[in-house]
Symmetry: C2
Subunit: 144 residues, 2 copies
DNA sequence: TACCAATGTTGGCACGACCAACGATAACAG
DNA sequence: CTGTTATCGTTGGTCGTGCCAACATTGGTA
């Protein structure tokens, strides 16, 4: 599976480079998460709930940058696995209040470890200082 | 459309940051390319053919990192628009030799300009030195 | 009250990456 | 030369992800 050199005009584009790296990241992260039986969205959602406490699905979506519809599906799957708890909000009956269960916290810890392992594999060619540089630059471009 | 802070555990992951930036890049580039009537794959393929000369579809796919099937579809579309020329290889009748037409070169120039404009918009918050740093780091991670 | 906004949910669309299979052709081993 | 393997272009499909539309329900507000 020998890969050749891309054209110089393409190789020089940050947008192309970042897409290539994102693709690699997608695969590496998916592999590490799959090893512990999970997905990217699961991790981000569980992390948000663990850090900010219970919230509605809409708020959860805004936190992690997911559409309401995708949140609904993911929450349903996670609730079916007992990783989080979804109950109607008594103060606002439009909303569901979502909270992490104990099992969910266990899964989150596993996903967190997998995520860090994935970063190590993805950034294997970079020193610690360079990884920090890259993360800082990306964060600025991302507006985070 | 107020966006909130993502969880710290997620925000600290380079894989997440790079995906966010890649998403932004996708949208910005698509908008700029759409303004001149083109797509990302068109640009990469035309650039490869312009830089390395005529080649088979399979070679083209290896150059730009596209599957043979996707190359076939993209080449058909570009040939229909007269941007490239696809003829059977007399030396190897399995292959199609693909070459850029004059119209294709014009389109490539327009796409090139659009691509650079997109980079400027995407990396507006970074200095020239920082853009070079980012590109260099991404290139090392991408293995290019 | 009447109107507008937000929520959860279902269903769908678009795009990109990827894979499987096929017929045709080439390259190679015996 | 013959049989096997490999490559090519092509069609068709799968999967993940981001996004939008619509709907009924509920809350907030003029």
């Amino acid at each position: 599976m020998e890969t050749w050199d891309a054209p110089a005009r393409v190789r020089a584009l940050p947008s192309w480079l970042v897409s290539q790296v994102a693709l690699q990241a997608r695969n590496v992260v998916a592999r590490h998460f799959g090893a512990v039986g999970g997905h990217r969205t699961q991790f981000t959602m569980l992390a948000a709930l663990a850090e900010f406490g219970p919230m509605s699905q809409a708020d959860l979506g805004r936190r992690v940058g997911l559409d309401r519809s995708d949140v609904a599906a993911a929450v349903a799957a996670l609730a079916a696995d007992g990783l989080l708890d979804r109950t109607p909000d008594p103060h606002d009956r439009r909303r569901n209040v979502v909270r992490v269960t104990t099992e969910g916290q266990v899964r989150l810890a596993a996903l967190d470890a997998a995520a860090h392992a994935a970063q190590d594999e993805l950034l294997a060619g970079l020193s610690t200082a360079e990884r920090d540089q890259l993360a800082a630059l990306l964060a600025r471009v991302a507006g985070v």
